[in-house]
């Protein structure tokens, strides 16, 4: 009968207890990191960490849409018409170097460098986002109030509107080079000055604790939470104050379907579909995950913004 003998290591080969403990810590840390990697989806290319303090104007009780869906289900026609195109086709886009020109009817026109803008005090704002296509998300944006920027350039008394313009770079944005006319480039948007000065209106430079991924409008975009998503112009290069109502891209494409105001309004339908309810994106569970939910007037921000439109017929000025 064979007797099994344990291999006995020489005492010199035995790891000292203290060292053994530190190795355990290292392994535990590595395992933790691996776990984090599984829970947090890989960060979109080019995104960097961005610090922000929680904003007082964040909605309460909102459950953010998963980062994966926020960054992979996008309408950004500069990169293509499919929801997956912006994530897949924005890799060649360069959000640096970048400047935003702020001019028009202002006392102190300025050109801001994006890196200087990122050093401002930034806030996290968790906002609802309602697309005109009747789906919605909840997004933890990072940014600053547009009113703070406008205050620095000192709008003149004659300024009544703010016009925004996106970048045009067909070599980096494949959707701008198509044969069929989609939208006229650059993408343009506009707000009334009082809408632009409202504390809920922000310029976002990040989301989910990171700088803005290319597909979400890097490096800087507009977020107006009580309006349909298309008002949130992306990759802004110019902000101009004016006394005339600015032309806006979707209104130019189909003025009977997309108005200048584009306030979220369940009572005013799109000619092709109802706006009374919305499909929450990223609810999980497939077909039976989350049913439609009712759309709220001004996307739930009526208490803060309804006063801006007192006396207006919002069916006519949709």
């Amino acid at each position: 009968m064979r007797v099994f003998r344990y291999p006995a290591p020489p005492s010199s080969a035995i790891t000292p207890h203290a060292l053994w403990l530190s190795r355990r810590n290292m392994l535990a840390a590595a395992a933790g990191a691996g776990l984090t990697g599984m829970i947090m989806p890989p960060r979109p290319a080019g995104a960097a960490d961005l610090a922000a303090h929680p904003g007082a104007l964040s909605g309460t009780g909102l459950k953010p849409t998963p980062l994966r869906d926020v960054t992979h289900y996008n309408n950004f026609y500069e990169f293509g018409l499919e929801k997956t195109d912006p994530a897949e086709r924005s890799g060649a886009f360069h959000p640096r170097p970048w400047t935003v020109q702020v001019d028009g009817m202002v006392a102190k026109p300025r050109t801001y460098d994006i890196d200087a803008l990122l050093t401002r005090p930034l806030e996290e704002r968790i906002y609802r986002m309602r697309c005109v296509e009747a789906w919605s998300m909840v997004i933890p944006w990072i940014g600053f109030a547009l009113r703070d920027l406008l205050a620095e350039v000192e709008p003149l008394g004659s300024a009544k509107y703010v016009a925004f313009e996106s970048v045009v770079r067909p070599s980096e944005m494949p959707g701008q080079g198509g044969v069929l006319p989609v939208l006229d480039w650059p993408y343009v948007e506009g707000l009334r000055l009082d809408e632009a000065m409202h504390p809920l209106t922000i310029l976002a430079v990040g989301l989910y604790g990171q700088t803005l991924p290319n597909q979400n409008g890097a490096p800087i975009r507009l977020v107006v939470p009580w309006k349909y998503g298309f008002k949130g112009i992306k990759s802004i290069v110019r902000i101009r104050l004016t006394d005339r109502q600015p032309r806006t891209s979707w209104n130019l494409r189909a003025s009977d379907e997309y108005g200048f105001y584009a306030n979220v309004n369940p009572a005013v339908d799109h000619p092709r579909w109802s706006q009374a309810s919305e499909r929450p994106i990223g609810a999980g569970g497939g077909f039976f995950g989350a049913a439609r939910q009712p759309t709220l007037p001004f996307n739930g921000y009526g208490e803060q913004v309804a006063g801006l439109y007192a006396g207006m017929d919002l069916r006519r000025d949709f």
């Binding site: 869906d69 018409l81 494409r253 579909w273 499909r279 077909f287 439609r292």
Partner: protein
């Protein structure tokens, strides 16, 4: 005679239904198990609608194919047409049940106010009528009127193609391609009818 030819044709027909219904089955399973992307109901609806249009177009290709190449697949036309009807029914059901959750108020507004939806409903109604009369008894019973009735397949295809074009915010190359194919099929049919009328067969 029928029995001799029935077996291979019957098998092909069975395979046609089997493979034809596969896209619906696959996307249903994917959607029910949350593997159909961020907006699964919308993706499912669009998949079903697109396959309805595809089968409808294929059913309309049967006659031009025979006229132009001599290849006769007439015996499979009914299967193609019925597949188009089934997909249209699935598409409508997904919209009514999964998307709108039987919200009758919205659905009523849809079919009374929105041309985009009305076009889809007209196409579906025609396909339902054609499916209901796609059997030997109806053919014998309706006689000449059966042919006239089933020419409405072209009207259904036109409505469905416009419905497809309108289902996106902007005009897309893909939707225009489908619209172009439907227009081409209709043009062929009209041209053939006119050229036959111009040259009456010898008495």
């Amino acid at each position: 005679m029928a029995a001799r030819h029935a077996r291979p044709a019957g098998l092909i027909r069975l395979a046609l239904y089997g493979f034809g219904l596969l896209p619906a089955a696959v996307s249903f399973v994917l959607g029910a198990t949350d593997r159909l992307g961020a907006d699964p109901v919308n993706t499912f609806e669009r998949t079903l609608g697109l396959w309805a249009l595809r089968f409808l177009i294929l059913s309309l290709c049967v006659t031009p194919l025979r006229d132009m190449t001599g290849i006769n697949v007439l015996r499979y036309r009914r299967a193609l047409g019925l597949l188009a009807f089934w997909y249209a029914l699935f598409h409508l059901s997904a919209y009514v049940a999964l998307d709108q959750g039987f919200d009758l108020h919205t659905l009523l507004a849809d079919v009374t106010e929105r041309p985009f939806i009305i076009l889809g409903m007209v196409a579906f109604t025609i396909l339902a009528a054609l499916a209901a009369t796609s059997n030997g008894w109806s053919i014998r019973r309706l006689g000449r009127r059966w042919k006239v009735l089933h020419r409405l397949a072209y009207a259904a295809a036109i409505c469905a193609a416009i419905h497809f074009i309108l289902s996106f915010k902007v005009i897309r190359a893909e939707t225009l391609l489908y619209g172009g194919v439907v227009a081409g099929l209709l043009a062929f049919r009209v041209w053939r009818a006119l050229s036959r009328r111009a040259k009456p067969p010898p008495a």
